[in-house]
Symmetry: C2
Subunit: 337 residues, 2 copies
DNA sequence: ACCTTAATCCGAAACGTTTCGGATTAATAG
DNA sequence: CTATTAATCCGAAACGTTTCGGATTAAGGT
């Protein structure tokens, strides 16, 4: 199943076989047909190593991300990978997953770069202060960050407007007459966490609402973290209990929803706090608490977008054209549904 | 940063440079030293494509698994991948993750095989009737299955003795005087689910306990599935409620634990059902319900074992020596801890 | 009949590595 | 001093692909 064999059985040269399969226009149509048919019949696929060697491209994209349960639990992330993987496959690329932390040592993906095993990297879950991005910029390696960072140098990134998403939620709540709006977010220095919290702070300011440190909880980025943080909010004097709670992500939200549900069971007479969560609730949530959602409706468009950006990056597109910010959408829960 | 450059700057031949870096014994010691130092200084790594082409090996292992939230939520699976990845990296291999379903069409990984981009595959989460394994056996491609299957042909696999694990739990419960032991497991045709349930059925038989269809629930493999299935068990007449419940996996167990907790809150006088779960509870569980665990204590030994098996497989070891069954361990919860 | 052009093909080189077989030198044995 | 051996090195070929430059043939125009 090498080109040579195909060429031999067809009585043509290796050159012609190659050019036929790559659909060049100096090959006769019926020759092409013959070659295509033979290749299919013999189950031929170009040897990836040989092709890479000659082309100077590996056709592999590395996806770097911190390998934490907290991250993998996030359905938005896994859905995004899945759609991205499918898009890249269609473009002839494969996705190499690279667990790596944001540490200030030589990154794990160093090997992959210097052995030219990947053409470009995707860095998922960026940190505000991200050693990996610094490393890549310094070594001039092509990459796209999924999320922004506070790096001074320019780099390619795709992100959602997290800050704006939270502000939309606050604007809506204010418009509904809420005064006491609390926020529960993750406690890791990830960019999206930072920006969402910033959205909360700025949103409260511009609505001229009192900002209170205790109303802005930072907690573990999972179910338990959300549950515990929400307990803190709910065990105050009744007059101090927020009328609305916004959360950072769906995992935290699940714990919050559970805490709220139990709270309402204990205190059925009290007003039900409104819950707005980023990216909904996990699919297998046990709660029935009503909630509204800040989200990006069509998740697999993200995969397509990032795949396109990668192609552009590898084609030498300028960095400043590879900084894409998408707007989130606020979906309000209407009780009659 | 190619071998040629190193050879040029050192005034030696490419051959010698190569043989030095690969630590052959017909290179003078101080030459080796020089080459090593130069390679390090210039940040040299052999070009993966060139190396693969010449060696006829890609040094990439593909990991095939169904890309479902239910699967990725399983901390045992993600921990295993993580440790496996680290082991393989140390052996000079990279791990290419390949989401693929168990469908009867040409598998997604077909491309990877015919283009020789991977040296071998790992198939995680095997099904009793697994089209992917059939395909690989038919095409004589080297692979290791993580889990067994009902394939007639011989193939390499690593597995835990799932059946025995459940039987250990039942034996323990019987010894403690339990008569009414229920089981809650997943509803997908995965091998490990099948074997664990078989363990339940056989265990009950050999203990001469009445086997009751309603005591053996099959449900969604997640939190909600476990919760709902457990509700079914708990809403019977009090005399029919099981005194012990065994679950299939940690995700289901989390829902079960939650249901049991709520049940005991509603009926504090009743006897507390004993809970035994395969692989513990998720790290971020909200429940405090006591439980015992069937598990394999040292999870990262698994990665090492599988990495070793892969090396043997690629070295041409016989299939029958590559069928490894590990025994699980029953860890009993002792209340004074 | 001759020149031009288009269509189609092919040989050979190249990508960066490893390795076979041999070459050179120095040390040792006779 | 010569033959043998060990230690060290190197040229060239090879892996499978793509592509440059040119070659061959046929068709079209005068």
């Amino acid at each position: 199943m090498s080109l040579k064999k195909i060429a031999q059985t067809l009585g043509i040269s290796v050159t012609t076989a190659s050019r036929a399969l790559n659909d060049h226009d100096d090959v006769a149509k019926d020759t092409k047909q013959k070659v295509f048919k033979a290749a299919k019949a013999m189950g031929y696929r170009p040897n990836a190593s040989a092709r890479s060697l000659k082309m100077g491209k590996s056709y592999v994209i590395g996806l770097v991300y911190p390998f934490h349960v907290d991250v993998l639990n996030d359905i938005c992330f896994t859905q995004m990978i899945d759609s991205l993987n499918k898009e890249l496959n269609q473009l002839g690329f494969d996705l190499l997953l690279i667990p790596d932390e944001n540490k200030d040592e030589i990154p794990v993906f160093h090997r992959l770069l210097s052995s030219q095993r990947v053409d470009a990297l995707l860095i998922a879950h960026t940190f505000m202060d991200d050693a990996r991005l610094r490393y890549l910029v310094k070594h001039q390696f092509p990459f796209i960050a999924l999320g922004r960072s506070n790096l001074s140098a320019e780099f390619a990134w795709f992100d959602f407007d997290n800050q704006q998403g939270i502000r939309m939620a606050i604007d809506y709540l204010v418009q509904q007459g809420h005064q006491k709006i609390a926020y529960i977010g993750g406690n890791q220095p990830l960019t999206f966490i930072h920006l969402r919290r910033t959205g909360y702070v700025l949103g409260m300011q511009s609505a001229q609402l009192a900002f209170n440190d205790e109303d802005c909880q930072m907690t573990e980025m999972n179910r338990r973290g959300g549950y515990q943080a929400c307990q803190v909010l709910l065990t105050r004097h009744a007059s101090q209990i927020p009328t609305a709670i916004i959360t950072d992500c769906n995992m935290i939200a699940d714990g919050v929803a559970m805490a709220l549900e139990q709270y309402m069971q204990r205190n059925p007479k009290r007003t039900k706090p409104v819950l707005i969560t980023y990216d909904g609730l996990p699919l297998d949530t046990l709660s029935n608490y009503p909630y509204s959602t800040i989200t990006q409706s069509t998740r697999n468009l993200v995969g397509k977008q990032i795949a396109n950006m990668l192609v552009q990056l590898l084609a030498g597109e300028e960095i400043k054209n590879l900084q894409v910010l998408w707007q989130p959408v606020l979906k309000i829960h209407s009780p009659n549904h």
